[in-house]
């Protein structure tokens, strides 16, 4: 728990959020390409790589919000 608090205290929230946005955009693009092209490689990428990127982006967002909330606590 202490390790998490220390990590959150040093967490670069705004940079991580920007990284999350970029990763999220990559994931969304791959998922949309899977629908637009609908051939084996884009469809497989949409159901694997894109979802992995999306999960990482979501985790970065969660950590950044937690860090921001922690930094505002008195």
């Amino acid at each position: 728990m202490r390790a998490l608090v220390r990590l959150l205290a040093r967490w670069p929230a705004s940079k991580a959020l920007r990284a999350a946005c970029v990763l999220g955009l990559c994931a969304l693009t791959l998922m949309a390409l899977g629908v637009v092209f609908a051939t084996p490689l884009p469809v497989v990428a949409a159901m694997s790589v894109a979802q992995g990127l999306g999960v990482v982006a979501c985790l970065l967002f969660g950590l950044s919000i937690a860090a921001d909330v922690a930094s505002r606590r008195p």
Partner: protein, 213 residues
């Protein structure tokens, strides 16, 4: 081509992308409103996009033109679409019920784990095509060297043809081969029975039933 799931994927992805692009360009302070907006753009809308694109992808992988989009499968697809072909697969593909998903209907294994196992096998096909070298093979080489990984299971035929009606049991060959058919030692889709499914891809020996691969 675009199904409702495909349309939902595109709409939710576009909405999420707008939110993320706005955040990257405007770089707003992290207020409660911005957090909520990012929750939409990084969690809620991408979740909807992921679920709908997966539903789209799972359906798409059952369509026969998806299977036929790799060049080594183009002759299989052409045969299915040929109204004059007398191949076993082509005759089955004319059914309006199973035709659009003909490859999947016949090759998906029956049973509780049939669906995920079929998808895993499909992933192996993608792997073999892009990383195993099949993409560089000629059609002639593919037809000469590649066969199904395991004998075609008769249980797949029996998903539709139950084998319980008089029209089946009155055929003396069916009665004589009951055990062999049950144990998959004789295939319904073999020379001398109902014929191979994709005859254009077989050697003369295989078509005559002199060699079983």
């Amino acid at each position: 081509m675009t199904t409702p799931f495909g349309a939902l994927t595109l709409v939710s992805a576009a909405a999420a992308a707008l939110i993320l692009l706005h955040h990257l360009v405007a770089r707003p302070a992290l207020t409660a409103t911005v957090r909520l907006r990012l929750l939409l753009g990084l969690a809620v809308l991408p979740f909807i996009t992921a679920v709908s694109s997966t539903a789209f992808g799972l359906h798409r992988t059952t369509e026969r033109d998806f299977c036929g989009s790799c060049h080594v499968m183009t002759t299989h697809l052409r045969d299915l679409e040929d109204p004059t072909s007398q191949g076993l697969a082509a005759r089955h593909a004319r059914s309006p019920f199973t035709g659009p998903t003909a490859c999947y209907t016949c090759h998906a294994d029956y049973g509780l784990f049939g669906y995920p196992l079929t998808k895993l096998t499909g992933m192996a096909h993608v792997w073999n095509y892009y990383l195993g070298g099949y993409s560089g093979w000629s059609l002639e080489r593919f037809h000469a060297e590649v066969r199904t990984a395991k004998p075609y299971p008769n249980a797949n035929c029996r998903q539709c043809h139950s084998g319980t009606l008089a029209s089946f049991s009155n055929v003396k060959e069916h009665v004589a081969l009951t055990d062999e058919l049950e144990q998959n030692r004789v295939s319904c889709a073999s020379a001398g029975c109902h014929g191979v499914a994709h005859p254009f891809s077989k050697t003369a020996e295989e078509l005559a039933g002199r060699r079983r691969r």
